[in-house]
């Protein structure tokens, strides 16, 4: 697994995305390097979800380019992007409520053809989230919010993806669960996955991230090593409640 060797996994260049007449992203650029946790923080409505959905191909880029491992993926279809190695845990979890926990994980493995590999991935997910193993036959809609978030993350780990996009994984969770989910993100990263983490919970995100970008109404205004960004007075005032 490529660790932090400085190679660029994801490059977003001058990205513009609109909803009708509203420009949600006004030409943002950023990079995510191999083995790192990069966080994109910003207030509600800043354009974080829009950014991730455009990378995944769910939204169309109006201008600009997105490269994954040097290949252009701008406006490719979502299923092609997943096959290339990007997995996305969407905002609000978006598990399949009427499928069982196990079926949800199998859907996560849609791109895997090898049965053995699929089985191994499932075991690994169950090891990471023992609760999911206990509840594998239950329909996912009956899980608690925290368990659903675990399932959403577990489902994304059923692929061979190198890059994991996480959209506000801590949203709506009790403080203890927030701790747990951030711990899991660190573990996933240590196992070799590169992570782009979108969060409103800037404090936690900056604690685990290597590098950070601040998004404000469609523009990136601040960037730097996560520690520097956390120490930035503007960031402290606006996002860290200090």
């Amino acid at each position: 697994m490529p660790k932090k060797d400085g190679s660029v996994v994801l490059e977003v260049k001058d990205l513009v995305v609109s909803y009708g007449a509203i420009k949600a992203l006004k030409g943002i650029s950023f990079t995510v390097k191999s083995g790192e946790i990069v966080t994109l923080i910003g207030a509600n409505g800043a354009g974080k979800t829009t950014t991730l959905r455009t990378i995944s191909g769910l939204l169309r880029a109006e201008e600009g380019h997105i490269f994954y491992m040097g290949d252009e993926i701008t406006n490719k279809q979502p299923h092609k992007i997943v096959q290339m190695g990007i997995t996305h845990v969407p905002e609000g979890r978006r598990i399949f409520p009427d499928l069982t926990v196990r079926e949800n994980l199998e859907m996560g493995a849609w791109t895997l053809r090898d049965k053995k590999l699929k089985q191994d991935k499932m075991e690994a997910v169950f090891e990471l989230f023992p609760r999911l193993k206990e509840r594998q036959k239950q329909s996912a809609g009956t899980l608690s919010g925290g368990e659903q978030q675990m399932l959403a993350v577990g489902r994304a780990l059923m692929t061979e993806a190198q890059l994991v996009l996480l959209d506000e994984p801590s949203m709506g969770l009790a403080p203890m669960l927030v701790e747990e989910i951030f711990k899991v993100i660190t573990e996933i990263n240590e196992e070799g996955k590169t992570i782009l983490l979108v969060e409103q919970n800037a404090e936690m995100a900056l604690q685990i991230a290597d590098y950070a970008y601040v998004l404000e109404v469609g523009n990136i205004t601040i960037e730097g090593d996560a520690k520097e960004v956390a120490a930035n007075p503007k960031v402290k005032e606006a996002y860290l409640g200090a």
């Binding site: 769910l58 279809q77 978006r94 399949f96 079926e103 849609w110 791109t111 489902r155 709506g172």
Partner: protein, 302 residues
């Protein structure tokens, strides 16, 4: 004969219900996945009936005895092909456009299939007798006062087998799981790497094949076919799907049998009011259960 709830009525109810069920499954599957009320779906059934008609006539002309299974496959394939093409040519280009456009297009596809069929000389606008006895010679059996024909047996058993196979596909196969996932959350399904258009194609093909089979089964039990034969059963199957809870496959089956039975019993009570009674039931059910019998209550899950 005393009670109207006699064996004959039950047989007839199952038989009509089976036809509605095969059609209504396609409505519900397509609606479940793209929220389109595919008004052309009844016409896929008509195409299935004509495909069977031509297959039987062709064999008869060559003095061969047509094989029922092959004719069934032909009608299912014909239904699947028109369904697939309707989706690719008419619905897919409108996928992310306002829903009303797709709905109007569906009505357009329906009329196109009906008028084009009547304009084709080999089909024509008028009724044709379906050569059911060239396919299967008729036998009838008396059970008490009731009469059961082998046509009805074929009809009901083919329908049941197809519904079992369909249920198996939807519940236990990889693609069936993807159909269910896509119906629940299309964007999430795409993020799993599922090519949603492939799933939609597959859904149309399955729905069209079942409707095509219903066309053949109708041909052998009510042997008069014409290019407009799909309109009323199509509407009724749609109603059955709504009654059962649109989007739900077991709901579509349940709704279809309820509708079949209420029609038959309604007619037995009063042959003029008969069908009206069936629809009164429908309205009552929907007033108290707007989501249908097995449908999901709408409301976001947090």
């Amino acid at each position: 004969m005393g009670s109207i709830f006699n064996l004959q009525q039950i047989i007839n109810g199952i038989q009509i219900g089976s036809i509605y069920a095969l059609i209504s499954i396609g409505y519900t599957l397509v609606y479940g996945i793209i929220q389109l009320i595919n008004f052309a779906h009844g016409d896929f059934y008509m195409v299935g009936a004509y495909a069977a008609y031509f297959a039987v006539m062709f064999s008869a002309a060559r003095k061969e005895h047509p094989n029922v299974l092959i004719v069934l496959l032909i009608s299912m394939t014909a239904g699947a092909i028109v369904a697939f093409l309707s989706n690719r040519i008419a619905y897919r280009p409108l996928r992310y456009k306002p829903r009303l456009s797709a709905l109007i297009t569906a009505i357009g596809v329906s009329m196109f299939l009906e008028y084009t069929s009547s304009a084709i000389p080999a089909i024509g606008p008028s009724y044709r007798a379906f050569p059911q006895s060239a396919l299967i010679p008729e036998h009838t059996y008396k059970i008490g006062h009731a009469i059961l024909s082998n046509y009805q047996i074929v009809n009901m058993s083919v329908a049941v087998v197809l519904m079992v196979v369909l249920t198996y596909i939807v519940q236990y196969t990889r693609i069936g799981m993807a159909m269910r996932a896509s119906a629940q959350d299309k964007d999430a399904a795409r993020l799993m790497g599922i090519d949603i258009e492939y799933i939609i194609d597959f859904t149309f093909i399955i729905g069209g094949a079942l409707a095509g089979a219903a066309g053949l089964l109708t041909g052998i039990t009510y042997p008069r076919i014409n290019p407009y034969m799909g309109i009323i059963p199509g509407l009724k199957a749609f109603i059955a799907a709504v009654l059962g809870g649109i989007g739900s496959v077991p709901g579509a089956m349940l709704g279809s049998y309820i509708l079949g039975f209420s029609e038959v019993f309604g007619m037995a009570i009063n042959s003029i009011l008969g069908e009206g009674i069936a629809y009164a039931i429908l309205i009552l059910v929907l007033i108290f259960l707007p989501q249908g019998l097995l449908g999901k209550k709408t409301g976001e899950k947090v």
